[in-house]
Symmetry: C2
Subunit: 434 residues, 2 copies
């Protein structure tokens, strides 16, 4: 093609696992496409791996593969490097070396950014380089660009996300097939939708890390992801899935950030989402983000949250943005994770206003409901709906939906209810939205 | 705030109607926000209107308002101008003057871009300036940035959009309340969801113009919007809305672009969308775009397609991108509507493969179905489902869903069916997706 640009941006890849191989395939197989979008050739110069002998999902030209990360760090011809090795400590060291060596960095590593964002972004500023990280949150859904660029005329007011595809896959199965968590997780592992050790996905850690990143971009807050109250899906009972369906809801693992007068409320947990809303319909390993903002109103984005090519799509978009120079302008303007960039305090989640679903297993005897109602009234919580199902068991499930109250009041009421003599265990408490 | 940047980008607004007033309000009321996002102050210097005495939806500082467009064109201190006057011919002349005077331009004017894109973009290139147009398609949904930037590592394979909020509002009402088009359009006009002369919205013109723009961005095609086969909602019969609901579908006015081996298939028309898909659930004056692409898979975006503040959100994002310098990089790289940029031919829509809903009003007499079935068979069209409802009228509605066929074959079969003696009128033919 005679319009192929002559200028080249040389790319290095650190890590050639699932995502790295996907990025390599786009660069190698679709050079005309990336050249057209970047106005210059994106040239895959080197790719470093731990084990040269491992079979890979892409065919690299001779001389590209190396097991020496330093072959990339110390090659002055390489302009941009995508860190796709995963993990935290080694990745951090590699990125710091890359920045020091004058390279712009692209990463898909949300755990790293959630843990070391300030240090890494300061190092990039000091070196006059950039870090792009579209792939770190929601995979193929370009939520980073949409927040930092497309919504720049807005004050974001709330952000709600299904940010973990593994959890959404598992929850979809639990709703569709009424099998308990323990069975679905085993199947998800067999199908490759869950890792051998899925703890970080299913306990809400992954969602909290992504929510912390989005909270910085959307609100200028600087939450520590570890301080975000989080509940995973690993403790979710099938009984509550069934109840949700009966009541017209779907349970989703949501990360929620809401701007209030007291600051930014942040939480992660299985949530009752009213059926008929786009968020309730997000099925399988998809991710979705709903943003409400003062000018645009409500924006909803949905797409694949993980997987080889969707994540590679986001990484290559970052490589192109970096090669074109957009990343540099955005990076210099927004001053992310700098000392100047905290403008919204994180509020005490106990003050967060929400509605709740409560399931209480209690002995079927006179006066139980009166005791529970008193415990709720003592915290000023009013009941929106109540149902008790007939049961032959020694205990019966009482299901309550509350009107708006605070997280703190709901937690205190549940503690009190859990101590009542006829109550078998602490109530199940899930937030309700929509 | 001591971090307020010192540099200023001076903004001019041509037109201060609904959208212009919204843009002015963001610039005037939220200067800290735009300064933070742009790294410089966005300063509203002048705004031109036709009638200085008209009441407006924003409070301008003294000296900003003028009835002389030339006061903006000839002011060398103004860097970027948003053209928000609407219309085609005068807007074209104004933008050409602005570019010549060395100003970057932002516009929300899809009719103008659909009609004069090549001339305007060539003029901008010649003057070394830029044109940004996020607000021209899908209002607050940032589909332009998502296509040109976020999906740059992808080959887009198809794009399906609800691109006209007025039509979606009307269709939602027809489905929910079973009132005919003629009644809903009157209500939509009263509520301000439809213009006094809604022809361009309801006959599919607006959707075709937007689809032509998106087809250029997503596929590098250069369709003439007038050549896109289009059907509006103004001829839609309530009987077909009822049938869609019975069959598990929702009728949406879709613009569809599909990349095939024969080139790009483009069409606009009321379409049966299978319930349970995100597109079927898009209600009221919302817009939505579904993009399928080789790397990301499927991406779905939904948001307000029109209205003062959503459209202003997109205009201000463009103003910020232009002030930061991102627009310039993107503009220079993509070479939109230049001689180099056509890379996908537009295919003959008669070859487009699709499934169809057919409703045929026919006399209730022996042999009718045989004649219809023969007409379909003559075009190689096979029937997926068929139903005939009991009726006391002289004619009965026969409803057919076809398997995949081509637009051309379906059109020929319908012409033949319309000529059959027992058939009252040409069949209603609507595409089916999902």
């Amino acid at each position: 093609m005679d319009t192929t640009p002559q200028e080249k941006t040389k790319i290095g890849l650190v890590g050639l696992g699932t995502v790295g191989s996907g990025v390599a395939r786009i660069l190698l197989d679709h050079g005309d496409r990336t050249a057209r979008q970047a106005g210059r050739v994106l040239w895959l110069e080197r790719a470093s791996v731990r084990d040269l002998k491992k079979a890979r999902d892409c065919n690299l030209p001779a001389g590209v593969l190396t097991d020496q990360i330093d072959a990339i760090v110390s090659d002055p011809s390489i302009d941009v490097v995508a860190e796709l090795m995963g993990g935290v400590e080694l990745a951090r060291e590699v990125i710091l070396s890359l920045l020091k060596a004058g390279k712009d960095v692209v990463t898909a590593n949300k755990a790293l950014i959630a843990a070391h964002g300030p240090e890494l972004f300061d190092a990039a500023r000091e070196a006059g380089r950039t870090i792009a990280f579209e792939a770190a949150v929601a995979g193929g859904v370009p939520i980073i660009a949409n927040l930092t660029q497309c919504l720049s005329g807005n004050q974001v007011e709330s952000l709600t996300g299904i940010l973990n595809g593994t959890c959404n896959f598992i929850l979809s199965k639990m709703h569709a097939e009424h099998v308990p968590y323990s069975e679905v997780i085993a199947e998800a592992q067999r199908l490759g939708y869950a890792e051998a050790d899925p703890a970080m996905d299913v306990d809400g850690t992954d969602t909290a890390q992504k929510l912390a990143i989005l909270a910085h971009l959307a609100f200028g807050a600087r939450p520590d992801w570890r301080a975000i109250p989080r509940v995973g899906i690993d403790t979710l009972d099938l009984a509550d899935v069934r109840m949700a369906q009966e009541l017209g809801y779907t349970i989703k693992l949501l990360g929620v950030a809401e701007l209030t007068e007291k600051g930014l409320q942040l939480s992660v947990g299985p949530t009752f989402v009213k059926n008929g809303s786009p968020m309730a319909d997000v099925a399988g390993p998809m991710n979705a983000v709903r943003v409400t903002a003062d000018a645009v109103g409500e924006l909803f984005l949905q797409g694949p949250g993980a997987g080889q090519m969707p994540t590679a799509s986001a990484v290559v978009a970052d490589l192109i943005d970096t090669a074109v120079g957009r990343t540099k302008l955005t990076f210099q303007t927004l001053k992310l994770w700098s000392n100047e960039s905290e403008r919204t305090p994180v509020a005490d989640q106990a003050d967060a206003v929400a509605r709740f679903y409560l399931r209480i297993d209690a002995a079927d005897e006179p006066g139980v409901l009166a005791q529970i109602a008193s415990a709720l009234a003592a915290e000023g919580i009013s009941i929106a709906s109540f149902q008790q199902q007939a049961s032959d068991a020694a205990t019966v499930p009482l299901v309550l939906m509350t009107h708006d109250t605070t997280e703190g009041a709901a937690a205190r009421a549940c503690t009190a209810i859990g101590k009542l003599a006829p109550v078998a265990a602490a109530p199940v408490r899930l937030r309700v939205v929509g």
